[in-house]
């Protein structure tokens, strides 16, 4: 008896839908390229032009450095105030949006929905609205950043609060603590480090956004960049981009360092 005579019953070969997905994705992409009318010819022609274009950024012009640094200061201050506003709002709303702390389920849903709402509105749209409402300047930017990131901070805080050990909450509840006492003694002390890390992360993010809020007139270094590019002052634009890049890298590094120390 040889092997060929044994009836081998193999399990059915699993279907592999991967090629189908790839094909669908390619068709979609092809349709998008056709629909948006993107011609790769111009892109290919542009490669040599592109090299020439970027060489124009070769000599950064720092002659107006003091003005740029002032704008940078405004940008950082906007980010700081935005983070502070976000922290205050998030701090107050998070306990209501945490399932184990909220006084009533309906409050849970309302606060969650509120946080989602502020997160879903882009900060530049908020900045546009605030600029139109209270005038040009960094105050509008700080408010926009604050309201937008309050949604993030509130959500992060609430999720950390939900992960607190049950024993801690029960221990405090057993002393007859009411809602604010629960939050202040069982809630925040347990997540202090995590919360600080989140605040730093949000500050980091806010600095990046504050650098571009100037585009809609909400103060800071973004407007200067916009103006220099409009006037084709590539030397000044290069200086501004370098300043923004350096600031972001420094703050990125600092916040990563502090967050590492916290954990």
């Amino acid at each position: 008896m040889s092997y060929s005579q044994i009836e081998v019953k193999l399990p059915a070969k699993p279907r592999n839908p991967f090629p189908v997905w790839v094909a669908l994705a390619l068709i979609t992409l092809w349709w998008i390229i056709w629909d948006l009318d993107i011609s790769f010819e111009t892109l290919a022609y542009g490669v040599s032009d592109m090299a020439e274009y970027f060489s124009r950024y070769g000599q950064p012009d720092f002659s107006e450095l003091s003005r740029y640094l002032e704008l940078l200061g405004v940008t950082l201050a906007t980010a700081l105030w935005g983070t502070a506003i976000a922290f205050v709002i998030g701090f107050m709303i998070a306990p209501f949006a945490a399932r184990n702390f909220t006084p009533h389920p309906s409050l849970y849903y309302i606060s969650r929905e509120f946080l989602n709402f502020t997160r879903a509105l882009p900060d530049l749209l908020l900045a546009l609205i605030f600029v139109a409402a209270i005038g040009l300047g960094p105050l509008a930017g700080a408010l926009a950043l604050g309201i937008h990131t309050a949604g993030f901070l509130g959500k992060f805080f609430a999720e950390s609060l939900e992960q607190i050990d049950k024993g801690v909450c029960e221990g405090v509840a057993a002393t007859g603590a009411n809602f604010p006492q629960m939050v202040m003694y069982a809630g925040w002390p347990s997540i202090l480090r995590e919360a600080l890390g989140y605040v730093l992360y949000i500050f980091d993010r806010n600095v990046r956004m504050a650098a571009v809020l100037g585009l809609v007139g909400a103060g800071g270094i973004g407007l200067a960049l916009h103006d220099t590019l409009r006037l084709f002052n590539y030397d000044q634009a290069a200086a501004l981009i370098l300043i923004i890049l350096l600031t972001i890298l420094v703050i990125d590094y600092l916040s990563a360092w502090i967050r590492k120390k916290l954990t």
């Binding site: 992409l29 882009p122 749209l125 605030f130 960094p138 700080a142």
Partner: protein, 270 residues
């Protein structure tokens, strides 16, 4: 008022030194920077009045004639983010391997790729959009380029981290068969990292849709341009529709990406 008479759970009932120091530093820097942000009590009161006056403008009936144009613009926004994400995936996959400590070909390449990726993601999309608009002109193309550029920075880093956390046993097993350098990466590392990668892709797509909604502010395509224009021309009946549609799209996408990522990372049961 019992809430405010907190006794701290320390020996003397006072807050710990580190906490007080942090609070003082934060408050001091806030007060010192207040003039830069033009925060003055007088002005705040005035702006509150202005704001309540302004918000009345939004109590208008939406202009539904605008809906078809809005649909086209929203579709363009979604298309831009999809295309940018696809381009970024193609570019960042190889970069991710080079930037992963266990898959790179040389430590120097690892360092360079890491630094290049962090440089790419350090500037916000809008700055790149500004630069690319002045390079290739108005339209969705500079927007796509800016999105893809920044996204490569993010995705390359996430990919590298996903590859670094794989189980080395499978790699050893495949290596023991005499697999080549490329085969080890393709058949031992990639399949293990794939669920994580797919989760990242969805997250990045979500991020890109958010970013694409505002790129139009600098003329890089999408709904952002209409948003700025209707604000400048005081067409609140349009603006309210735009804001609502952005809110809807972002919310739906947020939920969808949460759901999909849970499914991919934790399996279909959850």
């Amino acid at each position: 008022m019992k809430v405010f008479m907190l006794r701290w759970p320390t020996r003397n009932g006072l807050p710990p030194f580190g906490f007080v120091a942090l609070l003082v530093i934060a408050l001091l820097s806030l007060i010192l920077t207040a003039p830069l942000v033009e925060i003055e009590l007088e002005r705040l009161g005035q702006s509150l009045g202005n704001f309540s006056e302004f918000i009345v403008n939004f109590m208008v009936w939406p202009n539904f004639d605008y809906l078809p144009t809005l649909g086209v613009k929203l579709l363009e926004t979604l298309q831009m983010s999809l295309l940018a994400t696809a381009i970024a995936i193609v570019i960042s996959l190889p970069l991710g391997f080079l930037a992963a400590r266990n898959a790179t070909c040389h430590p120097v390449v690892y360092r360079i790729t890491r630094d290049a990726l962090s440089l790419m993601r350090s500037l916000p999309e809008l700055v790149w959009a500004l630069v690319f608009v002045s390079a290739v002109g108005l339209g969705p193309l500079p927007g796509i380029m800016a999105l893809a550029f920044v996204t490569v920075g993010f995705m390359g880093k996430f990919f590298a981290e996903a590859i670094e956390t794989i189980d080395p046993k499978a790699v050893e097993g495949v290596e023991a068969h005499g697999a080549s350098w490329m085969q080890v990466r393709l058949f031992a590392m990639f399949p293990q990292a794939f669920p994580n990668l797919a989760g990242t892709m969805i997250y990045v797509l979500d991020h890109n849709v958010r970013a694409a909604t505002i790129l139009g502010i600098v003329g890089a395509g999408g709904i952002g341009y209409d948003m700025v224009m209707s604000m400048r021309l005081f067409q609140y009946d349009r603006l309210i529709l735009i804001a609502l549609s952005i809110y809807l799209i972002v919310t739906v996408l947020d939920r969808l990406s949460d759901y999909l990522r849970n499914r991919i990372i934790h399996g279909a049961k959850q």
